[in-house]
C-alpha cells in the first residue's frame, strides 16, 4: 500500500512538472512596446482595411508590420487620451523612431514564407494562419521559447503539440501538411533559404 502511495505521489509531482511547471518556465513573457488595438483600427472606429497597414506589394513582397510613418499619418498629434497613444506620439512619432514590435508569427531565419502565394495563389484568409489577431482588442504577451529562441506561435500553445485551433502552431509539419492536402510540392528549397 505504502509503495503505491509513493508511486502516486511521484507520478503527480512529475506530471505537474511536465505539464504545468515546465511550459511556464520554458517560455518568456514579454510585453509589446505599446498596446495596439486592431479592433479600434480595423473595426468601426477607424475602419482601415488590413491591406492599408499590411501591404502586399506588386513585386510579391509582403511588407508585414507597418512602419511608423503609417501611424504618423493620423497620430502626428494625440487624438485620444490613452497612455499608449501618448507613448506612441511622444516616444516614436515625434522622434521618428520605429516601434520595436515583437512579431509572433516570425519563423527562424532559414525559413522563407511568401504571403503572395498564399493570399493570391491559394486564396487563404488571414484567420487560417493567424487566428483572430486582426480583430483583437489588444496584443497578447509575446512568448519566446528559451531554448530555441523562437516564438511560441511556431510550436503552438500546447506543449504536447496538440492543435488547439487550425491556426495554432506553424511548424514545418503544419506547412507541409496543408501543402500535401492541396497537392503543392514540398521540396526543401521552396520554403528554406
Amino acid at each position: 500500500m505504502k509503495s503505491i502511495r509513493w508511486f502516486v505521489a511521484g507520478f503527480v509531482v512529475m506530471m505537474l512538472f511536465g505539464w504545468v511547471i515546465f511550459p511556464a518556465i520554458l517560455y518568456t513573457h514579454e510585453e509589446q512596446p505599446l498596446q495596439f488595438s486592431h479592433k479600434v483600427h480595423s473595426g468601426e472606429t477607424v475602419g482601415l482595411p488590413c491591406q492599408d497597414c499590411h501591404r502586399l506589394s506588386a513585386d510579391g513582397r509582403f511588407e508585414g508590420v507597418p512602419a511608423i510613418a503609417k501611424c504618423a499619418e493620423c497620430h502626428a498629434e494625440a487624438i485620444g487620451s490613452t497612455a499608449d497613444e501618448r507613448l506612441l506620439v511622444e516616444e516614436y512619432v515625434k522622434k521618428g523612431r520605429e516601434i520595436p514590435w515583437l512579431v509572433y508569427a516570425r519563423g527562424p531565419q532559414n525559413a522563407s514564407f511568401p504571403h503572395a502565394s498564399h493570399l493570391i495563389g491559394a486564396g487563404l484568409a488571414c484567420e487560417r494562419c493567424h487566428g483572430s489577431q486582426g480583430t483583437a482588442e489588444s496584443l497578447p504577451a509575446f512568448r519566446r521559447n528559451r531554448i530555441s529562441g523562437e516564438s511560441q506561435a511556431i510550436w503552438g500553445t500546447s506543449i504536447a503539440g496538440f492543435k488547439m485551433a487550425e491556426w495554432d502552431g506553424m511548424k514545418m509539419d503544419d506547412c507541409a501538411r496543408c501543402h500535401r492536402e492541396r497537392g503543392v510540392a514540398n521540396t526543401c528549397l521552396k520554403c528554406h533559404k
Binding site: S57, G60, R61, N110, T187, H192
Partner: protein, 244 residues
C-alpha cells in the same frame, strides 16, 4: 546554364557577385585553397607547354547540377541534399546537414564547400547581407543552387501577379554580373529558349562527361583542344582560387 569559355576573360566578377548574393563571408584567417567557401570560382587551365607556346583558358566552376546518379544526393545520410524534380536544381539545406562531408568526397567537380569557421563579417557589413538567403554556421556544407533566393522572390512576384512562373523570370547573380555575357541561363527543357539553342550547338560539352552524371551546366568553346581536355580531365587543381 551554358558558359562560353571563348568569351570568359577570367575577370572574376561572377565570383564576387555570387558571394555577395549568397552571403558568403570573407575568407577566414588561415583559409587555404581547400577550405575556402567558393560557390563559384574561376580556374585557369593551361595546356602544359611553357611560355610563349602555352595556351590557357579560364573555366568558371560551380555546382554542375547533375541530372543522373546525382552523387551528393545519393550519399547524404541526412536527406539534406535534394534533387528538385520541378526545376532540376540540386538543393542543399544547411540546417539539416550534420557535417560529415560525404557529399564533398562524392562530388567529382569539387563544387561543395564546408564551413570550417563560423561566418564573420567586418563590422557594419552584416547590414548588407541579403535577407533572402540565410547565413550558415560552422560545421555544415554548402554549394551553388542557382540563386534560390532569387527564384523564391520570382515565385512570389509571379503569385502576386496571378500568373505562373515563366522560365526567364529570374537570372542568377553570376549571369547578371558577367561583363562579356559569357553565361546564358534559362530553361533547358524549353526548346525555344536561348539557353537550349546554345546547349544544342556542336561546340558545347560537359565536364567529365564520361562519368554520366549529366550536368545541366554546359560549357562551349570553338577550340577542339579545350573541349577535349575539359571533357576528360578534372579541372580543379592546386591552383584553385580562394575567394577573399
Amino acid at each position: 546554364m551554358v558558359i562560353d569559355l571563348d568569351r570568359c576573360t577570367g575577370c572574376g566578377a561572377c565570383v564576387i557577385a555570387c558571394a555577395v548574393e549568397n552571403n558568403v563571408p570573407p575568407a577566414h584567417e588561415g583559409t587555404t585553397p581547400r577550405t575556402g567557401l567558393t560557390w563559384m570560382r574561376v580556374v585557369r587551365v593551361d595546356d602544359g607547354r611553357s611560355f610563349p607556346d602555352t595556351r590557357s583558358v579560364f573555366v568558371p566552376l560551380m555546382c554542375q547540377q547533375c541530372d543522373h546518379h546525382t552523387p551528393c544526393v545519393s550519399v547524404c545520410p541526412q536527406n539534406a541534399v535534394e534533387y528538385d524534380e520541378e526545376t532540376g536544381i540540386v538543393t542543399q539545406v544547411p540546417v539539416r546537414c550534420l557535417g560529415c562531408r560525404y557529399c564533398m568526397t562524392a562530388c567529382p567537380y569539387h563544387a561543395r564547400y564546408f564551413n570550417w569557421w563560423d561566418p564573420e563579417w567586418p563590422a557594419g557589413m552584416e547590414q548588407t547581407l541579403n535577407p533572402d538567403v540565410s547565413t550558415r554556421m560552422r560545421g555544415v556544407a554548402e554549394k551553388c543552387n542557382f540563386c534560390h533566393g532569387r527564384l523564391q522572390a520570382a515565385r512570389a512576384k509571379a503569385a502576386a501577379g496571378s500568373r505562373p512562373l515563366a522560365p526567364d523570370d529570374y537570372q542568377p547573380a553570376c549571369v547578371e554580373a558577367c561583363p562579356t555575357e559569357a553565361i546564358v541561363f534559362g530553361d533547358l527543357n524549353d526548346p525555344r529558349s536561348t539557353v537550349s539553342a546554345a546547349a544544342s550547338s556542336p561546340d558545347t560539352f560537359r565536364l567529365l562527361e564520361h562519368l554520366g552524371t549529366g550536368p545541366k551546366v554546359r560549357y562551349r568553346s570553338r577550340s577542339a583542344a579545350v573541349r577535349e581536355s575539359l571533357t576528360r580531365n578534372s579541372v580543379s587543381s592546386e591552383k584553385e582560387q580562394v575567394h577573399g
